[in-house]
Each structure stands twice: as C-alpha cells, then as structure tokens.
C-alpha cells in the first residue's frame, strides 16, 4: 500500500468510527457528533481518492444525521445560488459540510441513495445548477478572493467529480458561454479551456446534445480543437492526417490552410493538426501556403515576405504538437509588425540558438513536462506573449506586478523583454537598475512567491522568480523614504514611459483616504477626454486597484495597467485596462462588473465605465504636464458620485479622520 493510500485508509477508519457514533445517537444528540465527522471529512477530501471515498459514504452520512438540525437536512429546499458562497467560506468544516451535501445530492441523483422528499431528477437539476453557477471553480483561473481562502484544488476536483457523473449535457449552454467569454480575452494559457472542451466533446459523444444554439457553439469549439478542416474533421490522429495530405492537390491544401486559419482566429485555439500542418508546410518544397495557414493580414504578409528564413526557423524550432499555440502567437507577432523593429530579428535569431541554464530548464520541465525541450517551450511562449501581450496571466501566484510588467514589455518594448529572457535563459539571473544602482536577482532572497510559479506561461515561469525578487528589493530600498514606494519603483521597474507624477488615494501610514477629491479630479484631468483636451493615453500606465468582491468588500490591492480611455459604441466613456489576473471578467460588487467584450474591448482588454473604474482606483501615474496646464473644471457632482461608490465599497472604513474636503479642489 502506498503511503497516501495508507493515510486515506487510516482517515477513513476514523471517519467511519465518528459516523457510527453519529448514526447511533438519538436525534436530540446528533449535533454533538456532527462536527467530528465533518472535521475528519475535511481531511479526507484533501487526500488523493478522498472525494470518491466520501461519495461512497455520502448517502450513509446523510442517513446517519450529518445534516440533522440544519437547512441541509431538507435538500429539496436548498438553493443552488448559495453553494458558491459556502464553498468560499474560510472555515473548512463549513466547506466540508457543503461538499458532503453535494456528494449526497449526487448519490440521490444517480439512484445510489435516497432521501425522503427528494427524487433523483430534482437532485440532478440542483446539481446542474450548482455546476453552472460555479464554473469558475472548473477553470485554472483563480481570483484574488479565492486565492486568499485556498483549498481551490479540492473544490475543483469535487465539482469535476460531480460533472463526470451527472454529465455536462445540461450545463452545456452555460459552459459554452463561459468558454467563449474566456476565449474572448485570448489568454496565453489555454490548457484549462482545452481541458473543458475535451470534456464537452466526450459529453456530446456519449450523451448527444439537443440541436440548437448551444450545440452550435459547442461544436464550433470542439471542431476548432479536434477537426477544423476536411482532412481532420473526423479526428483521425496526426499520422493518418499527414498521410492524407500527401494525396491532396494545391487547391485542397489551400482549403486546409484557410480552414485552420479561420478556426484559429475564430477561437484563439490551435488544433494539434494545425501545428502538424504548418510544420509540414514549412518543410515542404514548392509554393508555400504558410501565410494562408497563419491567416495573415497585410502587415503579416509583408513581414513573412521580408523575414521568411527567420519565420521558417521559428516554425521549425517552436511549433510542435506539444506547443500548438505557438502558431497563433507567431501569426499575431507577424501581424503586429514588430519584426520590422530593428532589434527584434537578431534578438529572436539569438534566442533560437540559446541554450537554457540547467536551473531555468528544470523549472520549465517541471511546468510543461519533457515531451519537447525546455527551449522549445520557451520559444513558443515568447511568440505567444509577444503576439498577444494581454493574454499574459499570473496563474495562482501573488505576482501581479511581474505579470503586468511582462505584458507591458511585450506590448511596448518587446526587444527589452527579449533582452531579459536572454539573460534569464543563459544565466538564470536578471540584472536591472534602480536609480543607477544595479540589482541582480541572483543575489536576492525570494520575493512574494517563495516558490517559482509553474502554472503560468513559459516566459513567466522563466522570468517571474527574478522579477519578483527585484521588485521586492526595490521596495526595500524605498522603505525608508515613506509614502507609497510605487512612485519610485514603477518608472524604474517598467520603463521610462511611466509618467513621473504618482497620485495615491490613501495615506500609506494610516490606510485612510487622503484628499480623495483631489485624487479623483487629477485623474479626470489626466485621463478623461472631456477634461484633458482629448489627449489619448500613449503608453500603458501602471495603476493600482482596490479589488472588491461581489459583495463590494475589500479584498486587496492589485496591479493593472491603463491602456486607453475611449467612448464605446453606446456613447459611454470607458477606461480600457489590462488585468494580469487570468480572468478579467470579475464582479467587484455594487453593480461594478468588469466587462471583457461587447463594449469595444480588444482581445485581452477589460473595461469599466469611467466613474466605476475610478471608484476602485487607488494609485495612478500621470504626466507632470497635466498639473502645469490651466486646470479644467471637473463637476463636483461627478466627483461626489465617484466618492460615493468608493466609500460604499473598499473605502467604507477608510474615511478621512477629519473630513476636510470641499469637492473639486486642485
């Protein structure tokens, strides 16, 4: 018996003993024996195989009286909307109670257990709703709120366990919608999404799906991944697919190329067949269909023609069936035209040849396995990150600053990013300068994320441990200065384009609001087109958000960048921003719901109406020129409405000690 099996067996013995005491107890004494059962059940859930073991006992635990005296004792009246909140409860015993209840529902739904007053069908319906409402637990993404409470893996495995048994057919519509919502943000890390599509595919194959809109959406996703073209539509396997290609004429190959490209640009997902096709094309003699297979636009086509040898080498070195997303990255790199920027070609050429430092290679292997080399993963990751800068996510790591910096460089300064990657890949060290003083990551202790992240994109896996340390060290150097250290760190860490005025809404020492009206007025004068003479945001600007949860309660400080301020198609002035969190579409409470598509967002952008955005902002940078200009008048009621939103959410207990504001001050 393996150690973990033995540990589970020992815990189950204890669980069964506690459950027997519970079962024996009279109804009036049940409550004394419930907590021990839940206490042990919570530990069982943390063990491999624990969910299934608890499921096997769920009906018996219910019958033993685990829920006696609580709302959970009448399952027919339980509300699926409340499950998510209970699952986020910091008390594990409460979470264990909810999970055991879900597993008991599952046992009822599958006919393995019964409960008076509840039949299999309503139980199944309840679980379907729970799954649909808790899809966020399905995906790799984790929000600030869920990171703070932990135990994500257990919840995910429980919900997946439920989904595997009741099937996803009924939640297909919600699931498909959710996947499209995520794909609209074009994340670099698509493994969780691909995983879910695979599950949908299995569900549809096993159970079928009702014809209609939902089925169409699902088939589009499954098709993009498993069979987007004529040669691949029956998912024949890479070998059979390549054999078919040998028999195709140019016209048929052209259809394959455009079919792949269309599916890729439609979803942001790259089929393994597409990767195989492109590699095959790049190696082939004769007229090339590479631009068609990449779905290039005019700029991309121009880059392809000019840098054909480099692009062929990139395909050869980065595109494999294990790194299919590199195709999408490459396509966007070409279409962004960044190859025309002089340093990029030699930098990429150098990176193709670079050999990784053993430590760095080890980290990448840990994250991505050994099917292809760490160098291949890194190169693929580089193409993806430079191709889709706003697709960078921080994973489940508290390293939003590092992720934001990588995204910013990928957008704004890709050769600098290549420079850092080159340093880290060869030396497993990065040196940056702070006000002229060199800071070498190799000489520093770990920063915020003690372990290096392995659940992010390859560039982040390589760089974040170094960036994290350097960022922390800059913070240390600023500590004696007082005030918010971002004032000095942000320009030094990110680049010269970070505006040198830094305005903070709170007093750092007390955490209370400080001159909040002036803060809001300055932001309006710096960023709002009506108050800044319609000056556009030129470079992405780092900013700090006070993140709130769906109940508008303060969760923590979070780093984002402001990309642009524009009027959307409905005439609403919105702030478009990049959030390094994996899923930007968050509910910040009190009606503030971050939009990720449908309001003029480009891929990966998040947006909020101007006032709502400012109401969660606590730090921003602005050009000193704003202060030098004749101040425009920002209406007092406009500022007051923003203040109300702030003080009704994150700033509720941060009101100024002695309110001295008059509104609209300079």
């Amino acid at each position: 018996m393996r150690d973990e099996d033995a540990a589970l067996a020992a815990l189950l013995e204890k669980l069964d003993a506690a459950a027997a005491r519970l079962a024996d107890a009279r109804p009036f004494a049940k409550h004394r024996h419930q907590r021990p059962v839940l206490d042990i059940a919570a530990r069982v859930l943390g063990q491999p195989g624990g969910v299934s073991a608890l499921y096997a006992r769920a009906g018996a635990l219910d019958a033993a009286g685990l829920f006696a005296g609580s709302d959970w004792d009448s399952p027919a009246t339980l509300l699926p909307q409340l499950v998510g909140l209970t699952l986020d409860n910091p008390d594990r015993v409460t979470v264990a109670l909810e999970i055991t209840s879900l597993l008991r529902m599952l046992a009822i739904a599958t006919g393995e257990a019964t409960h008076e007053g509840l039949h299999a069908e309503p139980a199944r319906h309840y679980l379907t709703q729970v799954l649909a409402l808790n899809l966020r637990h399905f995906f790799g993404a984790s929000s600030e709120a869920s990171r703070a409470t932990g135990w994500e893996d257990v919840k995910r495995s429980v919900l997946r366990f439920v989904a595997e048994r009741i099937g996803l057919r009924d939640v297909l519509g919600v699931l498909v919608e959710e996947i499209w919502r995520i794909l609209e943000q074009r994340p670099v890390q698509v493994a969780p999404v691909k995983d879910m599509i695979a599950q949908i595919s299995i569900a549809m194959a096993e159970q079928g799906a009702e014809p209609g809109q939902e089925r169409l959406g699902a088939e589009r996703l499954v098709g993009a991944l498993f069979g987007p073209t004529i040669a691949s539509q029956d998912d024949p396997g890479i070998g059979a697919f390549l054999e078919r290609l040998e028999g195709f004429d140019e016209h048929a190959l052209m259809r394959e190329a455009t079919g792949f490209a269309r599916a890729m640009h439609d979803t942001g997902l790259v089929s393994d067949y597409h990767a195989a096709f492109l590699t095959w094309l790049a190696a082939r003699e004769g007229p090339s269909l590479v631009p068609e297979a990449l779905g290039l636009g005019q700029t991309g086509l121009d880059c392809w023609r000019r840098y054909m040898p480099l692009v062929r080498r990139l395909i050869g070195a980065a595109v494999t069936p294990f790194t299919p997303q590199a195709v999408y990255g490459l396509s966007l790199v070409l279409d962004r035209g960044v190859l025309h920027y002089a340093p990029i070609e030699p930098a990429l050429t150098g990176q193709i040849a670079a050999e990784l430092h053993p430590e760095a290679a080890q980290r990448l292997r840990l994250a991505y396995g050994e099917a292809v080399s760490a160098e291949t993963h890194l190169l693929a990751g580089l193409l993806e990150v430079i191709g889709q800068p706003f697709g960078v996510g921080q994973g489940a790591n508290p390293t939003c600053q590092s992720a934001r910096a990588i995204a910013m460089w990928a957008l704004n300064d890709p050769d600098y990013l290549l420079h850092l990657v080159r340093q880290a890949s060869e030396m497993d060290a990065v040196t940056m300068h702070f006000e002229g003083q060199p800071i070498a990551s190799s000489e520093l202790p770990p920063g915020l994320s003690a372990g290096a992240p392995i659940d992010a994109d390859p560039v982040s896996v390589l760089l974040v441990p170094h960036l994290d340390r350097i960022y922390a060290e800059m913070g240390r150097l600023c500590a004696p200065r007082g005030g918010d250290p971002h004032r000095w760190i942000n320009p030094e860490f990110h680049g010269w384009w970070v505006a040198r005025d830094c305005i903070v809404a709170v007093d750092v020492a007390t955490g209370l609001l400080a001159d909040y009206e002036a803060f809001v007025a300055r932001f309006c004068r710096g960023y709002h087109p009506a108050y800044n003479d319609a000056r556009p945001v030129i470079h992405p600007q780092p900013a700090g958000i006070a993140v709130t949860d769906a109940s508008a309660r303060f969760v923590g400080w979070h780093a984002i960048s402001i990309l642009r301020v524009d009027t959307d198609q409905h005439g609403v002035v919105r702030v478009y921003f990049y959030n390094p969190n994996n899923d930007s579409g968050q509910d910040w409470g009190a009606g503030v719901v971050v939009s990720t598509s449908g309001c003029g967002e480009r891929y990966g952008e998040a947006s909020l109406p101007f006032e709502e955005f400012v109401s969660r902002l606590y730090l921003f940078h602005d050009d000193p020129l704003t202060a030098a200009r004749v101040p425009t008048i920002v209406p007092e009621e406009f500022i007051a409405s923003i203040r109300d939103r702030a003080t009704q959410s994150w700033a509720a207990d941060r009101l100024e000690a002695a309110p001295s504001w008059t509104g609209g001050g300079a």
């Binding site: 540990a7 020992a10 204890k14 003993a17 506690a18 024996d24 107890a25 009279r26 109804p27 009036f28 004494a29 004394r32 907590r35 021990p36 059962v37 206490d39 042990i40 530990r43």
Partner: protein, 408 residues
Amino acid sequence: MQDYDESKGYVALLGWSLNAIDAADRFDRRYIVVAPPWATDYCEANGIPHIAWDFDRLNERSYELATTLKDEGVDVAIPLFEETVEWAGAVNAVLRDNPRLLGQAMLFRDKSLMKRRAQLGGIRVGVFEEAHDRGDVIRFLKRVNQTLLKLDGDPNDPIHFKAFDKSGTAGHRVIRTAEDVDLIPDEEFPALLESHLDGWEFAVEAWIKDRKIQFLNISEYVTLGYSVFVPATPELEQHRARITEEIEKLIETFDIEFGFIHPEYFLTSDNKLYFGEVAYRPPGFNALELIERAYGFNGYQALVLAFDPKATQQELDAFFPTPVEDAKGHAGCFGVYPRRRVVNRLEIPDATANHPYFEHHELAEPMQNKVAKRSAFGTHWGLMYFFGDDPHRLRDLLKSQEELDFYV
C-alpha cells in the same frame, strides 16, 4: 421513542448530560432525567422523559425528590455530576430502603472525610490535613517541608490544595510559596491539603455490582489536567492485579454494593500505591467516551447496568469485554489551553493535523482575544482526540501537544 423492557429496572439520571441521556435512550431500560428547570423546554421538544429539579436548593427537599421518584416507580438514581452525588445517596437510601447509602454519599462528597475513611480502612494515603483559612495552609506548607529537612530558603516541595467538594481539577491548586497562598479566594475554604507525591498518576474507572468489580479500566495520565489515554501502557497495566486489590479495599472500606467509582492513585518511585481520592460518578475529560472508542461499549449504559438492582450477573458478563485484550486500540485526549496572552484565531498545528493518530477536535474559535491568567488548573478550551495502536507513540504524541500553540 424509547423501547424498554418492562421486566428490567427503571433508573433516574441526576444531572444534565446529553451523552448520558442519549445512551440511556438507546438502552433497554426505562429512564427519567432529573434536571434543572432550564432543561425542561429541551426535554419537551425532544420527548425526553424528565422531572425538573433544582439541585442548588437545600438538601431538606431530598426526601421530596425521593418520594416523587418512588411514586414514579424508579428503582435507583444515578449521579452524573459531583453535585448530584449526595442527592443520589439520599434518594437511593429511600428507594433501596438502605439509610447507609446517604452516609456513604457524604463520604464521597467530602474529600477530608473520604481520606480519613480510607486511612482507617488501611489504605495508603499521603500526609493530609484540613484547612479553614490561609494560616492553615501556610502551617501545612511549612510543616511538610520541615519534615523533608528543608532549610529556610530552600525551594519548597509543593503541596496540593483541593476544595472539599469540587470535582477533578476544578479548585485544585499547587502551592509552593506564601504568594500562592495569598491567591486563594476565600470561597474555596474549607479545603483539603495534601503533601505532593512524586510518581505516576493514573485513574481507575470501576463498574461494581454485588460488591464485585465488573469492569476495571486504567486511565493513564500523561500530564495531569492535560491528557489521558486508555487502555494504559503495558508498564502500568502490569500492576493491574495490585490495583484490583486496592479497588477491592475501597469497596470494603466504603461499603460499596453497586455503582461506579472513579479513584485516582499515585505509583511512587519506590513502587508503592498511594490513594488520592475517589468519586462516585463518571469522570471528566470525557473518559467514558475514550473507553467507548477503545472498547466499543457505552460507559453510560454500563452505568445503568451497574446501578440497576434488576440487572443479572449474566447480563453484566455479556455486556463487558475483557480488559486490555479486547481493546481495538488506544484512545486519548488532550485539553488545550492557549499559551499566548493574546490570541486571534484557532489554528491546528500541521504536525497534529497530519498525524495519523489525530481524530478530531472540539476547539472553538476564541471568543475574546485576551487570555485570562490561570490560577488553579482552570478549564481547558476544548479537547483534541487521538486514536492509535501504539500506546507509547500515543503517550509521546499527547506529551508533545503541550509544546504547541493551538491559538495564535
């Protein structure tokens, strides 16, 4: 809801213990709970047979309770708490038509009388004395230390101070200095003073019927007031024969016909057994629950059997397992006291949470942040339960909990 056998006895449970009521309700004898009036609503709501009774009131009414119970048809009363022991004695004197039972109960309720009776019965006890005020305590502390040939200024050997009529570690203080004496509140007098015995402290739970020990459990203390486990280690169990003799002496000396006793003993380094005290009621620290976890029988149901005059020897023999041999493992618990002066939250240390012997805990989140200073042994904040095969590993595990913070 209860199914009971008319031909068997009818018992009254004196005091409110949900575990005891639950066990009785599941047993085959009719029962009635005699509990304070605040429990009435709960009993009504849950169909628990009961009589409301205020045990705080004067003893003169005990005859009223006895006749009420007699009219009800009750055969015997079972005390669940120290405070109801003399009530049970008074009631049983009437029900069993045996006036000696009241006197016997008084012996159990007064630690000083108890100690003298034991001494008269030829049971080895330490040096003890009664104290009516602080002067008595100082005198006893000095006298004991003189006897030990200590000079002025030498650190004193401690003495133990126990309120006459409190149970377990409540009202139990260890006195080393005159300052310790000053800290004793007036209301804890009169009290029993005892010399300190260095040795191995343990407790016994014995169910008695017809003056015969029906089942004898030895509970090994790891640290008094902190932790206990059952069955004991083989090192302690090897003294079982001698311990059984000691219990038989108690049965003789205290004239115990039936019931349940819970005495404490010291085994000193010169291999002598000293009697500490004895209680005629279930022990604290959930010892009966530990026994149930180890042996599988319910201690409260055993109590009902031992008290019921209609129980037969056959029934008893069938009920009880063979000590030690039939135990499925060793069960122990640890009482948690916060170690820091200011605490914010409950946090089970990883070493404990991940230990294969750890079962569950009954600790609650702290209600207040400031921890009151402990003077007497005080009350723990909840129990941690453990269960495992190896008594030595369990003992060391319980000991190691003392070094951990559960409230941070």
